[in-house]
Symmetry: C2
Subunit: 253 residues, 2 copies
Amino acid sequence: MPYDPSAFPPFAVTVDLVVLTVRRHALCALAVRRGEPPYQGRWALPGGFVRGDEDLTTAAARELAEETGLNAHDPAGPVLPNAAHLEQLATYGDPKRDPRMRVVSVAHLALAPDLPAPRPGGDARSVRWAPVEELLDQEAGYGRDGEQVTPLAFDHAQILADGVERARSKIEYSSLATAFCPQEFTVGELRRVYEAVWGVALDPRNFHRKVTGTPGFLVPTGGTTTRQGGRPAQLFRAGGATLLNPPMLRPEA
Amino acid sequence: MPYDPSAFPPFAVTVDLVVLTVRRHALCALAVRRGEPPYQGRWALPGGFVRGDEDLTTAAARELAEETGLNAHDPAGPVLPNAAHLEQLATYGDPKRDPRMRVVSVAHLALAPDLPAPRPGGDARSVRWAPVEELLDQEAGYGRDGEQVTPLAFDHAQILADGVERARSKIEYSSLATAFCPQEFTVGELRRVYEAVWGVALDPRNFHRKVTGTPGFLVPTGGTTTRQGGRPAQLFRAGGATLLNPPMLRPEA
DNA sequence: CCTGTTTATCGTCAGGAAGACGACTATGAT
DNA sequence: ATCATAGTCGTCTTCCTGACGATAAACAGG
């Protein structure tokens, strides 16, 4: 019964990317403006077709590089300067999600540090970092700079919401928040990542105690910096630990 | 560039199911024997093609019903007697995972209580509950009853391992362990679920304090049972809570 | 130079949760 | 009657967290 090669409906398979970063104390996602129907002129998540000989993760990494110039971080390989965390998020396959044909999209989640160049990819006008709050709040109407904000194309609002929720919960029990930081960073910078992703204020003293007391989370590099103003802060790199035990606790209310 | 309808490679899309239950103090998964090449005679996860007009979750629920007679549990609907938890697990799309053609499989995870009828589905000889340890340990060679055990077909060993890991971590911070129990169950039965899924022994006194002290986890029904021998135990139903805060802690070593 | 502001870092204390484990209870089996 | 088996309630110690006081090291401006 299964696998009759002559009797299965053909699908198009795409990858869509939720690329998150923290800019100006806000969690932002990469959005591209669609140049053709359907949803012409609307913002959408970057993505594209999976090629015939390509793995899903490979396709996602390729799209990520095309849009941002970021390399997917290979846990086995060396630490690259432009490395982003990349993982599979979920797969969306409602028969009506694309009006033209049956498309199944394997969404991926990428976490990147704040990029010096806002739009290193191909065409500049149609790619931007937008606060996720702005992209998800369909009632907002207008963004920060007066640009009209309409709901994201296709089911991308749902995909983005799922990606944001994944990131919010995953930084609780893993060291993934460091993926939002440059290679060297301070405890305060890491704290501001948590505050931006969770949208809450954290006590600097308790946060400092927690992260410096978790073995393998942070490794001091010896240097200090004063780029945030105030007293110089120690610089750290991400340690080898990936799972935090006990986890960071996200405040309730 | 994206979505040129004439220029995308066609894929077959399937759903594969990791159906877990707890039988005789062991975590077991549903396996079907393949009747045709490739991997003829090997055990595999149940699954099948997604139909042309069908959502992914719908396809998974349909396959689950076909193989086990279980209904997928709809959180919004009433509590059905034969309801299993069903959620999307991950998607597997290596170009070579099926030697015949390009197949992308959206794996789903289902958790079911121990079924009175071991193989309620279609053909009986070729479906069985097997301890996951047996299915995943490719060196085992022979199962409990002398039946030869070979590695699962395709990449199903990886899919099963991912599903088991998802279940193991998810019962930590959610009330999902109750999906392995009948509608009414005792604290001891719930504890044996945790012990089987995690493969560890838990202190009955601390476990009792924890689960009865977590608001919304368990609701006493008033009845008692002595089906486990010993002193009669209170019967409970699953409460409304889905997230456990603080979570159950999985012992380290 | 002194003062106020900002950020970083250390310390203290009370409350809650978890692991270890003793004690008692209510069944059925011998 | 005695024992074995499960279930349930308590106690104690330890660890972690949240709240928050205090000090340190930079910069800005008068």
